[in-house]
Symmetry: C2
Subunit: 290 residues, 2 copies
């Protein structure tokens, strides 16, 4: 069994991005990070993004509007960032505090600066195999992990557990693309699937993104399958200071006995998302220059 080491893969991508940014003519790529309020997880995520950007040589512009900002003001702020030629990418940290309308704010971000890949146009471009768009960071990270662990999807049956807009659907569309490395036969299962195990057992590549702790058991996986675990779930653990531990959607102890390759949680898909965000920012910079 080969452990797919997300931290190591992320580190090599960051090194690659660093040298690509260093070689870039003109101004450095610039990522605007908008955070409203002091949600501790949001504070830590934005800090991590700032730090990774700095490491790569991407400028980050952290914008911290007051938690009392009105919807219209926040949208005006996005409009200004959309119009600012020195800003390549815009990320609004989720969740936005109530009563702000998060979806309306996300939709305000211009498609060509939508480095989070949530814009309708960017999703449509995945379906159209149009590479000028931005792929959301988690599905992009999953595809990178597959590619860099030597997993070619061609002729393989890829089973995706979960049909979310942020992971399941885009990763299914990516796996289905005709390009090299993809070309998979794709099944999407979800909460309404009659016999999930019968389908997961057919997977050459299983991508679990349903948000249920250790849902995928050893007997649900075909021997030799490649397993990518997108889940991050907190489960009570009295032995930890925090009182909980993080587990994926896959029962790692059991499934790692069966799989040929598997991502751990944490340290699998998680570390990939921030570097995919940086990759998208560099892409936005290049598209702006083109």
């Amino acid at each position: 069994m080969q452990l797919i080491d997300g931290n190591a893969i992320a580190a090599s991508i960051i090194a690659e991005l660093k040298s690509q940014v260093a070689a870039l003519p003109g101004r450095k790529p610039c990522l605007a990070l908008v955070r409203v309020g002091e949600d501790p997880a949001s504070v830590s995520y934005v800090k991590k993004k700032e730090k990774t950007a700095a490491e790569i040589g991407i400028e980050s512009r952290v914008i911290l509007p007051p938690v009392t900002i009105a919807q219209a003001e926040l949208e005006k702020l996005i409009d200004d960032l959309n119009a600012d030629p020195t800003v390549d990418g815009i990320l609004v940290q989720s969740p936005l505090p109530k009563p702000l309308d998060e979806l309306a704010v996300f939709r305000r971000i211009a498609a060509h600066k939508d480095v989070d890949g949530f814009h309708t146009l960017n999703l449509g471009k995945i379906a159209q195999e149009d590479d000028t768009g931005f792929v959301a960071c988690t599905p992009a990270g999953v595809m990178e992990l597959l590619a860099r662990s030597g997993t070619d999807l061609k002729g393989k049956h890829v089973v995706v557990l979960g049909r979310s807009l942020i992971v399941g659907k885009p990763v299914a569309l990516l796996a289905l693309q005709k390009k090299a490395g993809a070309n998979g036969t794709v099944t999407v299962c979800h909460s309404g699937t009659a016999d999930v195990a019968a389908l997961t057992r057919q997977a050459d590549v299983l991508i679990a993104a349903i948000g249920r702790a250790e849902f995928v058991k050893g007997d649900m996986v075909k021997p030799g399958a490649v397993v990518i675990d997108v889940g991050i779930n907190r489960v009570a653990d009295a032995s930890k200071k925090t009182g909980y531990k993080l587990v994926g959607d896959v029962d790692f102890a059991a499934v790692s006995q069966v799989a040929s390759k598997i991502t751990p949680v944490p340290g699998g898909v998680g570390p990939m998302t921030v570097c995919m965000l940086m990759q998208n920012t560099l892409k936005a910079r290049r598209l702006a220059a083109a």
Copy 2:
């Protein structure tokens, strides 16, 4: 075995649309039909669309630019139609004669008048389950045939043969939606699939859209499955005056012995596409008025 009669279902939809259009306040919906050149199939398709529009009470405006029209002029024509408040939907009949760039012309059509449902935004909206967009006519027709033949996809395994942008991918995304009637578990197979028959045999609902004459044989279908045949293929037939006959992607004689419900070719999905175009035009009219 129940034959899913596309002609009968299309006729009832046309009758429904007719009464909906009659009840519409203000001006009638208007569909611009742009045909360049005299390709006989295009002439006949546009005539059929005009006729159906007239039957429903939708105004159609047929525009026949000279075959020598320059790309820029054709795009200007689309821009004018986009800006014209009396035009609700715009359809450019495919194929455009060379050297016109068909994709560029299609992409010029404003998303809110794209009644053919080819625009990137409209495709993205299917993935996002955002009902304000337009679904391409063939996948929309497939979903209507399923709904009106009493086939609920909930808990069912839907296998789609083919991953085209016009049929396979949108129909897969529609079948996967959370709304009533959908909610299927979806597998997409294609030319690169290792063992197609092993997957089609698992289908509760099989949607064939690969463009290969009578590809789906009786032993590839689970007894009791619902089979929707999107294919339209010409095969040589000396007994016909034309020298050919039309067959689907499904071996009808064999599969109709196994399936519980099946669409014929012709007379299945085909008749649905024009009425879905009209439904989209009415929707465009309503959205314009809203």
